[in-house]
C-alpha cells in the first residue's frame, strides 16, 4: 500500500471516530448478544440502535470484525 493509500485508510478511520467508543474488551459481551439475536431474528430498529456502539467499534477495528465473522461461521455451521 502506498503512503497515500495508507492515509486514505487512516482518513476513513478518523472520520469514523466517535467522541466515546467501547473497547475490544467491552465488545466481547455485546458481540455474543448481537450474534445470538441476529441468528434468531432480523434486528428490530430498536435493537439496531442498541448495537450502535458495536457497529461504531467494528467500523474502526478490523480485528473485532474478524472475531464477529468467526462467531457467525460458528453459528452458520450449526
Amino acid at each position: 500500500m502506498s503512503d497515500s493509500e495508507k492515509l486514505k485508510a487512516l482518513l476513513k478511520l478518523v472520520l469514523d471516530t466517535a467522541p466515546e467508543e467501547i473497547d475490544c474488551e467491552q465488545v466481547l459481551d455485546v458481540l455474543c448478544q448481537y450474534v445470538e439475536l441476529r441468528q434468531s431474528q432480523p434486528l428490530r430498529a430498536q435493537s439496531a440502535e442498541e448495537f450502535q456502539c458495536l457497529r461504531q467499534h467494528l467500523s474502526v477495528c478490523h480485528e473485532c470484525v474478524e472475531e464477529l465473522e468467526a462467531l457467525e461461521r460458528l453459528f452458520g455451521a450449526d
Binding site: 492515509l7 472520520l15 466517535a18 474478524e66 468467526a70
Partner: protein, 195 residues
C-alpha cells in the same frame, strides 16, 4: 450431560465448585474445541495440534474470566467468543509482519496512489492528515498509528511496547480523536458519522 442443554446457571454452578465439576470441565473443553474448529478451521488454516493448544488455553481463560460473564447471552456462546479471541490473538501474533521500529516509514501524501477522480478536497484532507500525523501526535501515538497501518495486529504492537492490547486501543482511539480535532481546527467540516 450434553453441553448444549446446560443452562447458564448450571454452567456457573458446576464451574464455581472447588474443584470445578470434572464432567463440566470435559464438556466445556470439548465445546471450545468444536467451536474453534467450526469458527476458524478452513479460514485460518489451523491444524489439530493448534486446536488442542487453543482449546486448553481457552479453557483456562474462560475459568479465569467466568466472573465477568453477565448472562446476556448463552454461556456457551460467551465461552466460544473468549476462545475465538484467544486463538486469533495467538494466530495474529504468529503471523505478524516484522517491522523495523526505529525506522518506521513516514507518511508522505503524493499524487501516486490517488485516483484522478479523487476530489480536490479529499486530496487536501489527506495532505492535512499526513501533516497532522507528523505534527500533532506524540511519538508513541505516531508509532502505534504507523504500525497499525503497516498491518501489525494490536497484540504485536502491545508486545513491542510492553503494554496491554486495551492500552494500545486507547492510544489508537486518542490518536484518531486528536487527528480529527486537528482537521477540524484547520477548517475542515467533517461529517458526524456517529451521534
Amino acid at each position: 450431560m450434553n453441553p448444549t442443554v446446560r443452562s447458564n446457571e448450571e454452567w456457573q454452578q458446576a464451574l464455581s465448585r472447588s474443584p470445578p465439576d470434572e464432567a463440566a470441565l470435559i464438556d466445556l473443553r470439548r465445546t471450545l474445541k468444536a467451536s474453534l474448529s467450526k469458527a476458524l478451521g478452513a479460514s485460518w488454516g489451523v491444524d489439530e495440534a493448534d486446536l488442542e493448544d487453543f482449546a486448553q488455553e481457552s479453557l483456562l481463560r474462560v475459568l479465569d474470566k467466568r466472573g465477568q460473564f453477565r448472562g446476556q447471552s448463552r454461556f456457551s456462546t460467551w465461552a466460544s467468543s473468549v476462545a475465538i479471541r484467544v486463538a486469533l490473538t495467538q494466530l495474529r501474533r504468529r503471523r505478524a509482519p516484522t517491522l523495523d521500529w526505529e525506522s518506521l516509514p513516514g507518511l508522505t501524501p503524493v499524487a501516486e496512489g490517488l485516483a484522478p477522480v479523487d476530489e480536490m478536497e479529499q486530496r487536501e484532507l489527506i495532505r492535512a492528515l499526513g501533516e497532522a500525523v507528523e505534527t500533532r501526535l506524540t511519538k508513541t501515538q505516531r508509532q502505534v498509528i504507523r504500525a497499525l497501518l503497516e498491518g501489525l495486529p494490536l497484540v504485536a504492537v502491545a508486545d513491542r511496547l510492553g503494554k496491554t492490547t486495551n492500552a494500545i486501543y486507547k492510544i489508537y482511539f486518542d490518536s484518531r480523536k486528536r487527528l480529527r480535532r486537528a482537521l477540524e481546527e484547520s477548517g475542515y467540516k467533517l461529517e458526524e458519522r456517529h451521534e
